[in-house]
């Protein structure tokens, strides 16, 4: 039945099929229709050719006869249908009606034969329905259909994704995302955890069966008196247990006492005997059980070997190695004159120093002894003094000794002077000799001190007097001086007129190039201010100071010339600038002819410097000139802008503007305020330092779950608004990103 229907459907659909480009149709019309289709196509093409031919024929006739084409139409049709009836009418040879097109086989014709067969009514009903409905479109080829389905599905899933957008956006924009909020750590008390416990292993199950015994549980549920019953122990049992424990305790006590007693015994014989006893028992044991004894011996041996292995018995300590090396006797000898092996005192020059000092001390001691002897002899016999005199005046040694004696006392000197004044006998010559130097020195010093104390006073007084005198006598120069000062103040005014700066020479001002412009302005302002003060006023002031009305004031330029008569400031400045330029862009070294270097000497003699050297030099020169031209102060005659880099400051500056920031100002703002606990109140520190992701270790983070998010709500629950927000706000400022955060550090010198 179904097959039949399908066929019908196929047939009804046929006319449409022909309109569709026939490349994809194969799959649809499976049973037999394929053939049909192909056949139709052939027929079609044949028809077309025929029609074409007929058209041409008609046109030809038209041309010949001059009659309208309709006249020939009927003829053509007739001609077309003429068929000789060679065969009887049959399925393969349809009647003329069929060929004409009006006698087609209809559904009714076919159904007519089926009448009176079972199920005919049903079939007719379906046929009626089909007649009413339009022809059904053929399904699209699978490939295209699937493609379209996929497109639709993709569209849907795209749409699905859109619902996540607000949530994701909020998460992304949040300065901090929290994953530790809804953590359920389970039960908080031990009891709660225990109540949830379920026995899993066998041991646990056994325990549980005992604990959760029905009797016990029941007793628990009731008042608990039954529990006591379950716990009941007989009196005899308890007594026995008590006795047992007491016995054990007394035994232990006795054993302890005995051990203590034995330990206290000091008798050697006793211990010897004890040892013998022990050995005996051990021997007996070995006899009894040789295997165990062997094992014991092995153990002992192993222990001993292990002990021997330890460093204790290797004589590795510092002391032991040393003694082993040098023998025991050496130790005592060395202790006497010890020179430390290490440390500062072991250094060679220290050693030498020590030696020298030692020698000096010895000598000193010798001298002291001698002196002592001399004095003793003097006391005994004055003639002995000569000896001492000879000895004393015979060289450096005496002098040294005298020097040491010098600080003995001042009385000696006095007595000495006294003796000298009184021209006493030669006896004391020796002593005089000795103390000569000391005396002279001290007297010189006294003189110096005197001179020192006098001189400044005099000078001071002199100058003061002089100045007073000057003022009184001749006030003229004074006033000029004052004017000069004022005039030198005026140099600022001259700035615009490109005149010489006096101050700059004395104190070149270093300014970084970044602030250069800022700095220029205030300077100018100052200049203008001083401009506004009228010269006349100042001059008036000076005139009023002047007591002499006849004094003629020199002109401004003359004053300046007078003031800076001696120094050529302009040239100095130029020199300074040149120096700095040379320092920053040093001049290339002149090529030097090294005999035999780079070329044979005779060639060198003939040709001079090799060409490449000269070229290199030229290049370097040119480079330098270019660099100088490129400098910012190249065209500023009176300014020096240093282009030297400050390496220390460079560490604190970025080379380029960091990525998320759009302008220098924003970046600087982002690191301006400190975030530490020392600089911020405790309430703010937490928010300032909060990381981007807050999570707890050990807490499982689940994937995102859908939540309705109001995109317009204020998403900031936390007080702190992060850097991100700030950045975004400032993005809208539209400031141009500056690639170079930092330009060359510099110094600037300003003239005029």
């Amino acid at each position: 039945m179904r097959n039949l229907l399908y066929n019908l459907q196929g047939k009804t659909a046929k006319p449409r099929d022909e309109n569709v480009p026939s490349d994809d149709d194969e799959d649809e019309d499976e049973d037999g229709d394929l053939m049909d289709n192909g056949g139709n196509k052939l027929e079609d093409s044949h028809d077309e050719i025929e029609e074409d031919d007929d058209g041409r024929h008609v046109r030809m006739l038209e041309g010949i006869t001059g009659m309208p084409s309709e006249a020939f139409e009927g003829k053509k049709k007739k001609n077309n249908v003429v068929i000789s009836e060679a065969y009887p009418e049959s399925e393969y040879n349809p009647t003329r009606d069929v060929l004409d097109g009006d006698g087609r086989i209809s559904m009714e014709d076919l159904l007519g034969t089926l009448q009176k067969k079972p199920g005919f009514g049903k079939l007719r009903k379906i046929m009626d329905q089909m007649k009413k409905s339009e022809a059904i479109e053929a399904p699209l080829p699978t490939v295209i259909r699937e493609k379209m389905e996929r497109q639709a599905a993709y569209k849907i899933s795209k749409k699905d994704m859109a619902k996540w957008e607000p949530q994701v956006k909020r998460n992304r924009e949040a300065p901090t995302i929290y994953f530790d909020e809804d953590t359920d750590l389970g039960f908080s008390t031990v009891g709660a955890i225990a109540s949830e416990f379920e026995p899993r292993t066998e041991f646990e199950k056994k325990m549980a069966s005992l604990v959760y015994d029905d009797d016990v549980m029941e007793a628990h549920k009731k008042d608990g008196s039954r529990l006591l019953e379950l716990n009941q122990v007989s009196v005899e049992d308890e007594k026995e247990r008590h006795n047992r424990i007491a016995k054990m305790r007394s035994l232990l006590f006795r054993h302890e006492m005995k051990a203590k007693h034995i330990k206290k015994i000091k008798s050697k014989t006793y211990h010897r005997l004890l040892k013998k006893d022990r050995l005996k028992t051990a021997a007996a044991l070995t006899e009894m059980d040789p295997e165990a004894a062997k094992e014991q011996a092995m153990k002992q041996e192993f222990k001993r070997a292990e002990e021997r292995m330890t460093l204790k018995h290797k004589n590795t300590s510092k002391w032991a190695t040393r003694i082993l090396q040098r023998g025991l006797q050496v130790q005592d000898e060395e202790e006497e004159d010890e020179v430390p092996d290490s440390g500062i005192l072991s250094l060679p020059f220290m050693e030498r120093g020590l030696k020298k000092r030692k020698e000096a001390a010895e000598e000193e001691a010798k001298l002291a002894l001698q002196e002592y002897e001399v004095s003793m002899k003097q006391l005994d016999d004055p003639s002995g003094a000569e000896n001492s005199k000879i000895k004393a005046s015979s060289g450096r040694r005496v002098f040294g000794a005298a020097k040491i004696c010098a600080p003995e006392s001042r009385d000696v000197i006095k007595t000495d002077n006294f003796y000298a004044n009184s021209d006493s006998d030669d006896d004391m010559e020796a002593k005089e000799n000795i103390f000569d130097v000391g005396k002279d020195g001290s007297s010189d010093m006294q003189k110096d001190v005197h001179v020192d104390s006098v001189l400044p006073n005099e000078f001071h007084q002199d100058s003061v007097f002089k100045s007073f005198d000057d003022i009184v006598r001749d006030p003229g120069p004074k006033t000029t001086y004052d004017v000069a000062i004022f005039a030198s103040d005026k140099w600022r005014k001259m700035e615009s007129r490109n005149k010489v700066d006096a101050n700059s020479k004395k104190s070149p001002v270093a300014v970084e190039p970044e602030y250069n412009q800022d700095l220029q302005e205030p300077v100018k302002e100052v200049g203008e201010n001083s401009d506004t003060e009228s010269e006349g006023q100042m001059v008036d002031g000076i005139i009023s100071l002047d007591p002499k009305p006849t004094y003629e004031l020199p002109s401004q330029t003359e004053l300046i010339r007078q003031a800076f008569a001696g120094d050529d400031v302009e040239e100095d400045f130029e020199n300074d600038k040149q120096e700095i330029l040379n320092e920053e862009n040093p001049e290339p070294e002149k090529p030097v002819l090294l005999p035999g270097w780079g070329q044979w000497t005779r060639v060198q003699k003939k040709k001079g410097l090799p060409s490449w050297m000269l070229k290199e030099h030229e290049n370097a020169k040119r480079k330098r000139e270019e660099a100088l031209k490129k400098r910012k102060d190249a065209h500023l005659k009176h300014v020096i802008i240093s282009e030297k880099l400050d390496k220390k400051a460079e560490k604190l500056l970025t080379k380029t503007l960091p990525y998320p920031f759009t302008s220098k100002e924003v970046f600087e703002q982002s690191i301006r305020m400190p975030i530490g606990p020392e600089f911020n109140p405790a309430t703010a520190v937490g928010a300032l330092n909060r990381p981007a992701v807050v999570k707890k270790p050990g807490v499982i983070i689940k994937p995102i779950e859908f939540k309705e998010v109001n995109p317009h709500e204020n998403k900031e629950d936390h007080k702190w608004s992060g850097q991100k927000q700030k950045m975004k706000k400032s993005k809208s400022d539209g400031s141009i990103p500056r690639k170079k955060m930092k330009k060359a550090e510099g110094k600037s010198k300003k003239v005029n």
Binding site: L653, L688, I701
Partner: protein, 445 residues
Amino acid sequence: MKVKAISRSTDEFTRERSNDLQRVFRNYDPNLRPQEKAVEYVRALNAAKLEKIFGRPFVGAMEHNEAISCMAKNPNHLKGIFAGSEDGDIRLWDITSRRTVRKFPGHRGAVRGLTASTDGSRLVSCGADCIIRRWTVPVEDSSDDSVKPEDFHISKNAYWGVDHQWKGDQFATVGAQVDIWNHTSNAPVRSFQWGTDTVISVRFNPGHPDLLATSASDRSITLYDVKTTIPIKKLIMQTKTNSIAWNPMEPMNFTAANEDGNCYSYDLRKLNEATMVHTDHAAAVMDIDYSPTGREFVTGSYDRTVRIFRYNGGHSREIYHTSRMQRVFCIKFSCDASYVISGSDDYNLRLWKAMASEQLGVLLPREKKRHEYDEALKNRYKHLPEVKRILRHRHLPLPIYKAAALRRTMTEAARKKEERRKAHSAPGSISTKPLRKRRIVKEVE
């Protein structure tokens, strides 16, 4: 006359209990501390140095008898991780004690895919022996050591991967085709086939559980919806995608680990260009996994390194390597986002810290604050040259360093060549495709 006196309530400056800290009053006037910026800069520098000193990410290794081919984390149990190796061995590891808790014997060939259900009670494995096995994960302390599979399914073709739906009972296996299975049924609920090439990896979208993405050996990435009977979309790239990971916090985004050593992040809705290209690996990226926070992901590569990328960063934030670690085949981020587990060719599972210098264990509030402060400082001054140098420096094994340098040279040379070609041809005749589009061949509907 009113006399003004300084009055303070005692509550302000006394403590309630003897354990409380004494309250210290500070004057926050910035004029009193003129050096604050300099101080913080030095602190940032020190923090950066400390990070380097404490940067010891390797925690421990767990050994199999063959190369590790796949892993699965237990979504419900933090310390459990399943690992399958080339010899067909599947083990459940306890990563706190680094011991094998359980063995799942049965596979004859290499285990290619492993996945656990969301509640962690079921495990599905598949492998080169054409068998899918389903296991019930036993409770922790039961006595027997090995487990028998609940049931299995034999097919004609080898399986290449399996992944379980989040919070559902469906899982997908891939190989010759994509099959969707149910825990209850014994045959695939649904099968997809688009093209004839082998599908090599599969991943369900955790945020949007009906969606899944696969990658195939015909260099394609395909999206499916388990509710429909047909695939949704296909994207063909110039090189094969070895693995895919969805961002768990952003269901529309996924990242593909590509054979060319880059990772490509895509927005599902706009597949004609990648949202971000993550470059750094010197060889093919074998596996990728997102951190549950969605802010970073970890990749394991054939160049014997593990790298951690930010989800929006073009270059990696961290690189992990050891001298003994060979090609990394699989990698996972732990469920609490603080550990990374890698499985490699040298039979070992390795446990790493996700933040190399993070202090483990319970922290005092004071310590925690200090760490936060240090992090904030580092983040603030990371652009300054000294701090940047220290923070960015990583010591690399020579072969990896050289390979990376070579790669850089090559890309640079290619770029230069193109630039020159452009300069020497008629203006507008050559247009440069951005890297985000360059590797995409076409989008198939």
